[in-house]
């Protein structure tokens, strides 16, 4: 497989690097410190077309490749993990399922506004008692006349406080188990739908993570996404794609920590020479660089496979497992290389270390990724 970028991707790389460096990097420390959602950045992303990179032109998007979207998450995360996940959750978890499973009316109604960035997207699956075991959904929806009525609570929902459109899973027929779960499109502001407690997190602190509360929330019947009972499948396929986004976020964070450490180790002098001159530094950095590049190849490979319409679930799981663990290792060592300074907020590596941790947890923990990978080795007979 050839990972050389084509000319379009090269041009995109130039644009996204400039955008990340000039518009995103300078805000990263501030939004982390203040736990503030960077609305101004999202607006700028919308102006350039970043909120609809891989959405077809017919639905108001840029008509770009999945790899371009992944490059965007990587580059944004290189300077700010928060900004990376805002784009990833919007695109992978809301735009993608509507594009893949929505009917024409739903696509024409939601995609142009999501792709232009006028609307922000989010996804609701996780519940207090349904995390890794997502099948244990307690949120339920009942048919009533020309509506569905939703009740229940979702937690840890990325973009919650700022999103306009949510793809939400709810049980519609408990007797059917996972085949009794359905997917719905819910708009912010629908009566009976409110946003609950905002989480105070270790990392990605600018990202708005909160509860979704449904209390007799009545949504139009036509907002069912896909067939009744197809929700669990839709959620699992959506998460397969989302994992590539989170893997790209992890990759970007790892690369950002490498960039900072390469610079710092050349500036910092101890025992009369830059610490980059010590073989311990060089050998450790060589090992980390190799892992980052290996992660990059896994992430791009999964993305290219998805773009080509090939099976990619296992590739996405491997990419996320390896990239997130690499991000954790690189950022932890980056703090160590920075010594006492690295432990302070004067340098960005401590933020990167805090941001990296979540990539091993959300959209499937590392353990879930191993379950997915192992399942491909030992298929059910």
């Amino acid at each position: 497989m050839d990972f050389g970028f084509n000319k379009t991707e090269e041009l995109f790389k130039q644009m996204i690097c400039e955008f990340a460096t000039r518009e995103v990097k300078s805000l990263a420390a501030e939004i982390d410190e203040e736990e503030r959602f960077p609305e101004e950045t999202v607006k700028k992303m919308a102006e350039t077309g970043l909120m609809g990179i891989s959405v077809p032109v017919a639905y108001g998007g840029a008509g770009g490749s999945h790899l371009m979207y992944i490059m965007a998450v990587e580059e944004l995360s290189r300077v700010c993990g928060t900004t990376g996940v805002i784009l990833s959750a919007h695109t992978s978890l809301c735009v993608e399922p509507i594009l893949q499973f929505g009917n024409e009316t739903q696509k024409m109604k939601y995609l142009p506004k999501l792709a232009s960035g006028e609307w922000l997207g989010a996804f609701g699956l996780t519940e207090p008692n349904a995390g890794t075991d997502a099948a244990g959904q307690q949120t339920y929806a009942v048919e009533n006349g020309d509506s569905w009525v939703l009740n229940g609570t979702k937690i840890f929902i990325t973009n919650a406080n700022y999103a306009d459109v949510f793809v939400v899973m709810a049980m519609t027929d408990k007797s059917q188990g996972t085949r009794g779960i359905s997917a719905f499109i819910v708009e912010a502001g629908t009566p009976g739908f409110s946003i609950g407690k905002k989480e105070k997190k270790m990392g990605i602190r600018g990202s708005a993570t909160a509860e979704l509360i449904f209390e007799n929330c009545r949504i139009p019947k036509e907002n069912l996404l896909g067939k009744p009972g197809a929700g669990f499948k839709i959620a699992m396929i959506t998460l397969d794609g989302g994992r590539i986004g989170i893997a790209a976020q992890a990759l970007g964070i790892a690369q950002g920590a490498m960039d900072e450490t390469i610079r710092y180790t050349q500036e910092r002098k101890q025992f009369g020479k830059p610490i980059s001159a010590f073989q311990n530094t060089q050998f450790q950095m060589a090992g980390l660089e190799t892992k980052v590049q290996a992660a990059r190849l896994l992430v791009y490979s999964a993305s290219v496979r998805k773009g080509l319409g090939l099976p990619y679930a296992k590739d996405a799981a491997m990419a996320k497992l390896f990239a997130s663990e690499t991000a954790m290792e690189v950022t932890t060592k980056a703090v160590q290389f920075h010594g006492g300074y690295g432990y302070t907020r004067e340098y960005p590596v401590e933020r990167m270390m805090r941001d990296a941790k979540i990539t091993e947890i959300y959209e499937g923990t590392s353990e879930v990724q191993k379950m997915v990978i192992a399942a491909s080795l030992y298929p059910k007979k």
Partner: protein, 261 residues
């Protein structure tokens, strides 16, 4: 309104070094970019397009790889792109370049031509004004702002000067040379990027343009670079906190010390 923007591909001089032995630029590994003042000019043109529906053509003279900045201009929103490339243009100084550009511009329709004030590789600020002279156009250089009212046949512009600025009115068609600081250039649009390489790239050679060929390239270039060198780093100055009277004595004393006065 038809606008033509003259742009140039330059080495990113923030990353460039000069070979201390030969005095020439070390170009290996240095990225090529759209000259910042030219990008500012393109941004002004695109703002006129956003507001009044102008048609924006970008033109550059350079080697075939200069196509990259024309694709970038497409991705920013330009409507038409022309690459002037021919061995006959090679070795051109500012005069020969301005002859080539004006030769191409003579064959095109325009109400306004915009060029960057100067390129970061040569810093001459000559090509725009020379081109305007060849085309017998009114020109304003060092432009920071452009104001236009629908239907007018003139522009109101703000020109930077050493002392401050001037507000001038200039009849169309005209040439403006503009500063990068005039307007923060927009980012390429993602959809523009996706479409950029599918769009037409007009390649023009010397025989396509309206110019006397003896004025082109090396043979049309009266300028010769005798020597290039890196200027030594100046030592840090000293700061004296004194009254104006004491300062006069101090400066006069120092100048006498160095036999300048």
């Amino acid at each position: 309104m038809k606008i033509i923007v003259c742009i140039k591909q330059v080495p990113d001089t923030t990353e460039i070094k000069i070979d201390p032995v030969t005095g020439t630029l070390i170009r290996e590994g240095v990225p090529s970019i759209m000259n910042p003042d030219d990008k500012g000019g393109l941004e002004l043109a695109l703002r006129l397009k956003d507001e009044f529906g102008a048609h924006v053509t970008v033109i550059t003279m350079g080697p075939p790889q200069a196509e990259a900045i024309l694709r970038e201009a497409y991705a920013m929103g330009a409507d038409r792109a022309i690459l002037l490339t021919d061995r006959k243009f090679a070795g051109a100084d500012t005069l020969a370049t301005s002859h080539a550009l004006s030769g191409a511009l003579r064959t095109l329709e325009y109400d306004l031509i915009i060029a960057g004030r100067q390129a970061i590789d040569g810093d001459t600020a000559q090509v725009g004004p020379q081109t305007a002279e060849h085309l017998d156009l009114p020109q304003v250089s060092y432009v920071e702002e452009v104001h236009y009212r629908e239907g007018d046949r003139f522009l109101r512009v703000r020109k930077q000067t050493e002392e401050g600025y001037q507000i001038l009115e200039v009849a169309l068609p005209c040439m403006l040379t503009v500063l990068a600081s005039a307007s923060k250039a927009r980012y390429m649009r993602v959809r523009g990027i996706v479409e950029a390489y599918g769009r037409e790239m007009e390649i023009w050679t010397a025989d396509k343009i309206d110019v006397d060929e003896s004025k082109l390239g090396l043979k049309g270039s009266p300028t010769w670079v005798n020597k290039a060198f890196t200027r030594g780093v100046k030592p840090a100055g000293t700061v004296h906190e004194v009254t104006p009277e004491e300062a006069v004595d101090l400066i006069v004393g120092k100048l006498k010390e160095k036999f300048i006065i």
